[in-house]
């Protein structure tokens, strides 16, 4: 066997969740203009202030240009060819308030996310978003007993407008960047969560995003508010059908941690990555940011990014409160023709604020993996500290890894440290394992796991298992 070929060959991947649900959807015709935005707002029965907010964002978006600074390459996106709203139709004879369409239940069962509470994973409440709408939220009543609000974004707009109005756009403003402005104009649903003061959320909260309809974009918003002294752990998962066309997913996530609050946000991102030739897949252009508003608050992002044709996301922390802590733990895998430009921003404003960045990039096939991170310490953020570590692992010789760390320090007492490494899974390592009876697939998965274990350790149990499995699947056949 030719040794070069052998590493190449480990790179064929089966996408497990690529099926399409046969369901009638209520779709708005493709195209983006004020009329479409008004239609979306009307379908959702939104108050005037929210429509005005959307329209302002849209007008601003029209003046903006798509960013080109990321290390990713794709043909221009035709924003007029995208459908901005697509929601499963209720079956004739059923009314809102009736049970969920069995076809949707089957879909989520197949994805391993049972929506019937008696079958649901113990200790995990789920908000299920299907194309443009949330179709179910589990354990709402149980959470309400603790005063926790957990529901779809649309429902929050109806039942808690004062909270939504107060916090919406307060971390990621409607004009923040090109994709965030687009999202503000056309977002259709998402999850909302409010944890009252001193409450420790008794279960994991999660959102599962599913794109089903063709030629449709998914634009959702998540807003999580942890009030004084509260704690919550939030999980996010996502999948989409296999299609030859690229589909756009441009989400916004805003987190607010008040004094002494803690938010842990974990993502296992498994959007369809496209095929081995780079055809199809999701463009995942996402703005995620959390603000440690209060003193001694903490926000921790953990992400395992295995899917998407292109990933463009930088889950960030604004450390405003004194003694607040921001963390970012990331594993990003690019395989075949996948491209990822991902990292974080840690903005130190408060005194004695601390941040940790641990980014692991794995590239295989023709994958291109970039870490891009900004550590910014404002004047007056005395005693601020950051530690960043970026490690890259290469499998084969046709992939690439890049690191773009930016550091802006205006406070002389700040301490910022950055370390980086690049390693390669070599033929010799694989043969060593083979000579011990371990097949190359298993050896790669062992080496990848070893590379990622500090990040996996941060994930909640069920997610860690899922993440390992996904990486195993993703790299199946990366050698052989």
């Amino acid at each position: 066997m030719n040794s070069k070929q052998s590493v190449e060959a480990l790179l064929a991947k089966e996408y497990r969740d690529g099926f399409v649900t046969p369901i009638d959807e209520d779709r708005v015709p493709p195209g983006l203009n004020e009329a479409v935005i008004r239609l979306i707002s009307e379908k959702k029965g939104e108050p005037d202030w929210l429509l005005a907010w959307r329209l302002a964002a849209f007008r601003h978006w029209q003046t903006m240009v798509e960013p080109t600074w990321a290390w990713v390459h794709y043909p221009p996106i035709d924003y007029q060819a995208i459908t901005y709203y697509s929601a499963p139709k209720r079956r004739a004879g059923t009314r809102s308030g009736d049970a969920i369409d069995p076809e949707l239940l089957r879909t989520y069962d197949k994805l391993g996310i049972p929506l019937a509470e008696r079958e649901a994973l113990a200790g995990v409440a789920v908000d299920a978003v299907f194309d443009s709408v949330s179709v179910a939220t589990t354990f709402k009543d149980r959470l309400a007993e603790e005063g926790i609000l957990f529901c779809s974004f649309s429902e929050a707009v109806r039942s808690h407008p004062e909270l939504v109005r107060r916090y919406l756009g307060s971390v990621v403003g409607p004009a923040d960047n090109f994709f965030a402005a687009l999202n503000a104009a056309v977002f259709t649903d998402g999850s909302f969560c409010y944890i009252p003061p001193k409450v420790r959320c008794p279960m994991e909260l999660s959102t599962y995003f599913r794109i089903n309809a063709a030629a449709t974009g998914q634009f959702e918003r998540t807003l999580i508010i942890a009030d004084r002294g509260s704690q919550v752990s939030y999980l996010e998962g996502c999948t989409a059908p296999m299609r030859d066309e690229n589909q756009l997913h441009a989400a916004v996530v805003e987190l607010i941690a008040e004094e002494e609050a803690r938010i842990k946000y974990s993502t296992v991102q498994n959007w369809y990555p496209g095929d081995a030739e780079g055809k199809g897949g999701i463009y995942n252009f996402v703005t995620k940011r959390g603000e440690c508003r209060g003193a001694r608050s903490r926000i921790s992002w953990t992400q395992v990014e295995t899917g998407s044709a292109i990933t463009w996301k930088y889950p960030s922390c604004i450390l405003r409160g004194d003694d607040s802590v921001g963390e970012f733990h990331s594993v990003a895998l690019t395989h075949h023709h996948q491209q990822a430009d991902t990292g974080t921003k840690m903005v130190h404003l408060g005194r004695n604020t601390r941040s940790t960045i641990l980014a692991k990039g794995i590239s295989a096939g023709r994958g291109q993996n970039s870490y891009r991170g900004l550590v910014k310490v404002a004047k007056g953020a005395t005693g601020a500290r950051n530690y960043s570590q970026c490690d890259s692992l290469l499998i084969g010789d046709t992939c690439g890894a890049h690191t773009f760390p930016y550091i802006e320090v205006k406070e002389p007492s700040a301490r910022v440290e950055h370390e980086a490494s690049t390693s390669k899974i070599g033929e010799d390592q694989l043969f060593y394992c083979q000579a011990r009876g371990i097949a190359p697939e298993e050896a790669v998965s062992m080496l990848v796991n070893g590379f990622c274990k500090e990040v996996f350790r941060e994930l909640p149990m069920e997610f860690a298992v899922e993440a390992r499995k996904l990486l195993g699947v993703s790299l199946e056949d990366a050698i052989g």
């Binding site: 030719n2 040794s3 043969f431 060593y432 000579a435 011990r436 009876g437 796991n449 070893g450």
Partner: protein, 254 residues
């Protein structure tokens, strides 16, 4: 146990082994010696199935089955062990993890159930004590930052865990201090049994003082130029390889 007949091996298109014949019966220990670059590691790697080592002629059977047709991992599971001249590092993969996977791969092959975590720990700690190895090496990355001697002991530890039928040990004695040499020799002798065989690749008589070989073969320039009893190794120690390799040069010149 191992029958090699007229084996020819090429690496990157260059023929390195020009027809090796070697018979290693069960219960015996054979030493393979020879100058640097003569092809000893090439033979070991070809037998273990290293990618890039092309067999261009000849045969090799292991317990009667064709060795060369099998994937490297299948050869290992069937009971062939290669102790590497230069063990590689597997960062992030703990020694315990590798051992457990390796032991279980072999057990699955034999139709046995996987070893449970407790039994595994007991077994590995017992062998580490035997090899005078620090238990902290178990949780370290495989060979990661190990000293040269620690790496070689680690190879023997793996061998003792896997209990292979045939062990090919490529210069496991190189780079060992005097005490370590005795420990490694003890490990090899422990494995010795009427149902097993060992091929010891070495440059030095001092290992053979501790692990007495049944036969000694000398490889030079890709050919076995001399085979004999234990006394051959002693003769080499005294006279060097010149008197043998000179022959070979002569053969090739003709």
């Amino acid at each position: 146990m191992l029958n090699i007949d007229n084996l020819q091996v090429a690496v990157s298109g260059n023929e390195i082994l020009h027809g090796i014949t070697l018979h290693l019966p069960a219960g015996e220990v054979h030493a393979l010696m020879g100058p640097n670059g003569s092809g000893k590691s090439t033979l070991a790697c070809a037998l273990a199935g290293k990618p890039g080592y092309q067999v261009t002629g000849g045969t090799a059977t292991f317990r009667g089955t064709d060795l060369l047709a099998q994937l490297p991992e299948a050869r290992a599971r069937a009971g062939l062990f290669l102790g590497f001249q230069y063990p590689v590092e597997l960062p992030g993969v703990s020694n315990a993890m590798l051992l457990k996977q390796a032991v279980n791969a072999r057990r699955r092959q034999r139709g046995e159930t996987e070893m449970d975590a407790m039994d595994f720990l007991v077994a590995v700690k017992e062998r580490m004590a035997f090899m005078e190895m620090d238990e902290t090496l178990l949780e370290r990355g495989v060979n990661e930052g190990f000293s040269g001697g620690e790496k070689k002991r680690n190879e023997i530890l793996q061998m003792l865990m896997l209990e292979p039928d045939l062990a090919i040990l490529d210069e496991t004695d190189s780079g060992l201090d005097i005490d370590a040499l005795q420990v490694v020799a003890r490990g090899i002798n422990h494995l010795r049994s009427p149902s097993r065989a060992v091929l010891l690749i070495t440059h030095y008589q001092r290992l053979l003082d501790h692990v007495a070989p049944d036969r000694v073969h000398v490889l030079a320039d890709g050919r076995i130029v001399r085979s004999g009893g234990p006394e051959l190794a002693k003769e080499l120690e005294a006279r060097g390889y010149g008197w043998l390799t000179g022959d070979v040069a002569g053969v090739e010149a003709r």
